[in-house]
Symmetry: C2
Subunit: 282 residues, 2 copies
């Protein structure tokens, strides 16, 4: 049980994390840090945080600091935090990219107080209103470069995620970013692009509204995601995302060619191959 | 209330439709027709149908015949059915393409006994086991060329879908196929292609299994769909699907170019535009 926990960012991930910390009895007092006063007010109103403080004050007061803000802002903010912490405090982040951050912190004198994590959960919504109870249960959480964290910091963070019902997976930051491109970032790109496709082609918005079934909704829902969150993710992981995106465009071209040439057999073959995803996603 | 209803095909759509007909008191006896004995046995076991009969026998005995089989097979089967029906019987289909079928039937002497429909509901599963109760509630149903159906046939089919909780929308077959390409068929293509992308790039299947979050699942779940159902849909609607697919590839190329050129502002702009889909898909 921590006396004081700071969450930096009071949105979807940090908010859901704060609610879970309270529920599981990990935190007595939760301090919110955000550049946006309205978000702090909302987070307080929703019972996500107990108080709001400026970053420095919050960090100094806290046993545990959890950072979940856009990945481009994470780096300078994390450096600020790491310059403040003592050997007793624990810092963790929840960013969707890990390589650039880990690289930026690798030589920091307090690196060992930091645990690099990525809980694999999210929705297309953002802000404190998007925070939900029981968000992480049954999902995976990646911990990167565990050997670079102090034993006590690592154990504490592992214990929290396990109590939240997450499965822990360990990998280096480079591999994390490759896998994240495959299983998360590309899904967001395709969804954003699909929304633009339909908005471009389908001028009769009423028709979309009337006709769109569950299939369309599920492939396009990620297109509602927050650009401030996702643009920096794509940029930080651009080489891996480009690699997967190129492959995806070439896979789409195969479908295109089947339709152009009316090659029914190859079309079926492509679809049967895609069906193999059932082995992986139940 | 019909004495006898035939469902041709005993899968996801026809099976769910049969369950709804029974529940709403529209049918006393439901007859299943299928080329696959195992499906008929399963449908009977699941209480979807009361009996199984060969097509001709089933049609002759029925007041209402509902056809929900792959769209390529629908045309010859529908011609067979239309050759059998009297001016008292009603026939409807549930196919995802409407133009080719309506064209094939336009000069049939019994055309007026047929109502061309497309209930906009489905899941990625198929077969009688995929049938669910309360499937169509709250979804849209397109009725095409209503002026080509007899008044009584149209009214009956409308009444059934309304009782099932569907909103009715009317359009010609050509427009239906254009809209269906935008709001349904392209989602399936992107999902199939995304599954192939990930299966191709991500050789470590365990990593996908471990890491895949809700976002990936929702964009890729349609890739589990049945190729026997979807390959004929793409082929029958190939011109519209190609048109949307070309647009989609060009939208993906914009994301690619932003990443290649590190054009952060344009990337954000693309994503902000995609966010407009929130206006349409709640």
């Amino acid at each position: 049980m921590f006396e004081n926990v700071t969450i930096v960012g009071v949105g979807l991930i940090s908010g859901s994390f704060a609610l879970a910390l309270k529920e599981k009895g990990f935190a007595k007092n939760i301090i919110g840090v955000s550049r946006t006063q309205a978000s702090l007010d909302k987070a307080k109103e929703l019972g996500i945080i107990d108080e709001a403080l400026p970053l420095e004050e919050a960090v100094k007061k806290s046993d545990f600091i959890y950072v979940a803000i856009p990945v481009d802002v994470t780096i300078p903010v994390m450096e600020q935090i790491m310059n403040l912490v003592t050997d007793k405090q624990i810092v963790a982040d929840a960013g969707s990219t890990k390589y650039v951050l880990c690289k930026a912190l690798e030589n920091h004198p307090k690196r060992k107080r930091f645990v690099a994590t990525h809980p694999m959960w999210g929705t297309e919504y953002s802000g404190p209103e998007a925070a939900v109870r029981d968000a992480f249960t049954g999902r995976s959480c990646v911990i990167c470069e565990k050997e670079k964290s102090d034993e006590d910091a690592l154990r504490t963070v592992e214990k929290i995620y396990r109590e939240l019902g997450m499965h822990l997976t360990y990998m280096d930051a480079e591999n994390h970013d490759i896998h994240a491109a495959y299983v998360s970032h590309i899904s967001h790109i395709t969804s954003f692009a699909l929304a633009n496709t339909v908005l471009e082609k389908e001028k009769e918005e009423d028709a979309i509204f009337e006709l769109a079934g569950g299939g369309f909704e599920s492939t396009v829902r990620l297109a509602k995601s927050n650009p401030s969150m996702w643009a920096p993710i794509f940029m930080q992981n651009r080489e891996n995302v480009l690699d997967v995106l190129n492959e995806h465009i070439s896979q789409l071209r195969k479908f295109k060619s089947c339709l152009e040439k009316e090659n029914y057999d190859y079309l079926r073959e492509l679809m049967e191959n895609a069906n193999k995803i059932s082995r992986i996603i139940k």
